[in-house]
Symmetry: C2
């Protein structure tokens, strides 16, 4: 067979030939911007030519600080098609992390949305690799860029004809992109995507067994293009000829619902908070949608949300799971045909799992170095392997304990049932290890939060003289409601064996949270570390 | 990203983990045989172990002379999983070709259905590479094998536990299979499939944009497993977890319809003659079918057949195109969503084309070394390129004019319309080249055969003193009907410019045909070579 490489050129070239008249629609400050694939392709070529003119070489990193819009999509293609590396920068990171990753990546050019130029101000003197800033906007004032020289994107494009020759044989092992994970401790870690990985990941997204992206779709990636390539949707949608709808800067739920309705969106993708907002908006202002799939990832959606979409809005709700290190699609929750006859509650429970492994990948469930059975009960760390799974971090910085014998250790604790459905139960670091057994802090929290009186609950493992660790629960009551620890334990007993029950349930006014609203379990663990030790007087340390 | 190879092990391993309870159903002489994927997987391992025991080494070729049944499917996996090469032999070839290809491939083991043992008799002393014959059947009499030593498949399996370790890292470039094209002149040419090519081809078959093979399907490959891997269906169906229905030896249309109905087949695949037979059977004995797709390839289906399936039987009919050299899927006819509103006749005309290029491949339309426009009118030879397209024939024998600058020259003349739909108009060798212009013999034939009086028509190009070549038409009238050459020319004039019209229309009793029923145009060309030359007296030479 021919040795033709799996590279972005094959996607771009195919798409330009097969789907020149499909649409790319962007929500802007004043309305919508629309252009067709053929115009997109022309501008991509102009941009590639401009980048060469600016001295960008194959292998050079090119950063973006941008929203989901048509210019960002053009950069998505123009940079890798030239052999350089698309480095999407998470604009929500702390500024010191933004500085760190631009320097770590050694970005030579930065594309920055005009609204995001202020992000560069505090670090403007510390970006030694950056030779050009290109400002995205209709008529941006480039003098406002804290980093100079700065050029306006549209003016730059205007100077080039697009007469550029791409290398159809660009090696499939060459780097296409770079994305840093947001780190809670230490520096962000870079994940480098190869052309081969992105092509295979795109194929996986076109499978009828998974997201089934197709020419008949209109795809709305709400997930930011600075998060794991917007889950790979831009590449797959362009390849398979879908119309693409981009929500622009900071869309509200109302903006999203309006876009979905007006553009007849069939597939939209976002994290649970996006879907919670959309659900609220749809309840208040019902509209007819064309959605064939509400694609949800990033973290687990509450079963009630899934149910609302499916039963109230009649929109199929699909859970997916992955991480920056897995490009990201790793599992996708689709009901096997043999399970379609199960009772509604059981079907919902299956749909609420992270789903089935995507074809092309392999997985293991490992505990203490040994594979645990796929019985739906045994917990293990989920390990992943495959051609769109990272085997190291960029420049090898931060690998540590994340890779072993050719597998990615996800840090997620899961069960896998005999049908293959993966259910995440915890992060390895949050798991409570009691007398050699594992207790899922997340399962206890969810059940506590299902109690009528409980607003929030967090469970952490703390040191215990006999069992190594035992669970401690922290609860915040709903306003005007309360329950005794005994009542809460009785509630938990209905779902869990006795040895799972927390040794203490501590009522607090508030559970400490991170800047993105996640429970700061490490703080609780540190504070209550000795709570169950014999010398402890009952007060937090 | 990880360097995990694209090999059959990743398909097998995934399928065994995700879909152990899906079914493989085979029509047998006495009823149906059924087993689940997990049993299939166990027997595959036993067979791999047996092959090792027989001394089969990685890279060795293993031949099959077999029908579409569960044992053949087991061989499909057991041989490549061990690193050896699955060589499927077309049992309809002339015996001297069977001999040639077994010797050319140097098959070390031959799997032969008990009903096909007689095929070996005339060549039994000429198969020096063959060390073992393994006879497929429930209780075959192995002493009947003309080639010895011969073993019974089931007895062989019975001796092994299946405790075999596969190499998950088997190189993706290593050979998986081998299939010889049927040659009309010269020796058959071998096409070698790599693991990489088959994995990518399988992904292409799972795409929502193409055949969309999925877990919810029940797939019936009527196309023989000795023809281009039954169009790749066995590999894709197993990977994506479809139920598989295998029709066994020489099924009649009635057998096929019965299987489709009883097993709730959703996708069946065969050549036009299969579908003509099925259509006749369905008209005579209407049954409710679950088919979501009648997949048709091998040669072009008449538009009337497509219409019958879609309008009378309400079964979507899908044209595909490819060849042994392209694994085989190269194009697939699906209506783009923007074309769904076109008038019925126009939609039918689109569905009757060979369709759109499959994602992952590239195509060109070339005439005299130059690309011709995709305007739906200009004709050129179709050139193909991609990771599941052959770049040479096995051992380099027979390449000749088939490959150029990294492209496969298909030998098919086509037009491509602006939407990308490929329409085959002729074989390069059958095209009439008149005064530098190309005339499609196939288009003239089809239009002649659409005339009420015409039963069959063939058009060939013969030498002409002024125009190099001019078309000659040969017609056979339907019983009791007739028409004058002038009437036929008038009929043709409605569809074609004057210079396309045949210089003569010759009434014959019969058009010479090959053993598989194709017009033997070469014979007509040879016989009428000088028909239009000045010295010609009007009689065939």
């Amino acid at each position: 067979m021919m040795q033709t490489p799996l590279n972005l050129y094959s996607i771009y070239d195919y798409s330009q030939h097969m789907y020149p008249t499909k649409w790319i629609v962007t929500r802007t400050a004043t309305g919508t911007h629309r252009h067709q694939y053929r115009d997109f392709g022309q501008r991509v070529r102009q941009l590639s030519q401009a980048l060469r003119h600016l001295g960008v070489q194959p292998g050079d990193r090119v950063g973006t600080l941008a929203w989901n819009d048509y210019r960002h999509l053009e950069i998505y293609f123009a940079v890798p098609l030239s052999g350089s590396v698309l480095h999407t920068i998470n604009l929500r990171l702390p500024v010191e992390h933004v500085r760190y990753i631009i320097n770590h990546a050694q970005d030579r050019v930065l594309f920055v949305d005009e609204t995001l130029l202020p992000l560069l101000a505090p670090i403007k003197n510390e970006l030694s690799s950056v030779q050009h800033v290109i400002v995205l906007g209709d008529h941006p004032d480039v003098s406002q860029s804290p980093v100079q020289p700065a050029l306006a994107y549209e003016e730059l494009l205007h100077n080039f004809t697009g007469d550029v020759e791409y290398d159809a044989n660009l090696s499939e092992e060459s780097l296409l992109g770079l994305c840093y994970t947001s780190a809670t401790t230490g520096n962000p870690k870079g994940v480098a995507y190869s052309h081969r990985g992105i092509v295979l990941h795109s194929l996986a997204m076109g499978l009828a067994n998974t997201t089934a992206l197709a020419e008949s779709d209109t795809v709305l990636p709400v997930v930011p293009m600075f998060h794991a390539n917007a889950w790979g949707l831009p590449f797959a949608a362009v390849w398979f000829g879908a119309n693409i709808v981009l929500p622009g800067a900071a869309p509200t739920p109302r903006d999203l619902v309006q876009l979905m309705a007006e553009e007849a969106v069939t597939v939209a993708a976002g994290v649970p908070t996006v879907w919670l907002g959309v659900a609220r908006e749809l309840s208040q202002h019902p509209v007819e949608l064309s959605l064939r799939m509400a694609l949800c990832g990033g973290s687990a959606a509450p079963p009630a949300l899934i149910q609302t979409f499916e039963e109230t809005f009649h929109v199929p709700f699909a859970h997916a799971y992955g991480m920056t290190e897995t490009s990201p699609l790793a599992t996708f929750s689709r009901l096997k045909s043999a399970l379609a006859e199960r009772p509604a509650a059981e079907r919902l429970a299956i749909r609420a799992t992270q789903g089935l492994l995507v074809p092309g990948l392999s997985m293991r469930l490992v505990r203490d170095g040994i594979d645990v059975p796929w019985d739906g009960v045994s917990m293990g760390e989920l390990w992943l392997r495959g051609p769109w799974v990272a085997d190291e971090y960029y420049h090898g910085d931060g690998g540590g304990d994340h890779f072993e014998k050719g597998w990615l250790k996800t840090g997620d604790v899961a069960t896998i049932d005999p049908e293959g459905y993966v259910r995440l139960v915890d992060r390895t670091k949050d798991l409570v290890k009691s007398g050699g057994e594992w207790i899922s802090s997340v399962d206890l929290e969810n059940t506590l939060m299902a109690h009528d009186a409980v607003f929030e609950a967090a469970v952490v493992g703390v040191t215990h003289p006999k069992w190594d660790e035992r669970p401690l629960a922290f609860v915040v009551f709903k306003e005007g409601k309360t329950a005794t620890p005994e009542e809460l334990k009785a509630h938990l007993s209905q779902a869990f064996p006795k040895w799972w029950l927390p040794d203490a349930i501590i009522v607090v006014d508030e559970i400490p949270k991170t800047s993105v609203g996640k429970f700061m379990k490490r703080a609780l663990r540190d504070q209550y570390h000795d709570y169950l030790m014999p010398q402890n007087d009952g007060a937090p340390t």
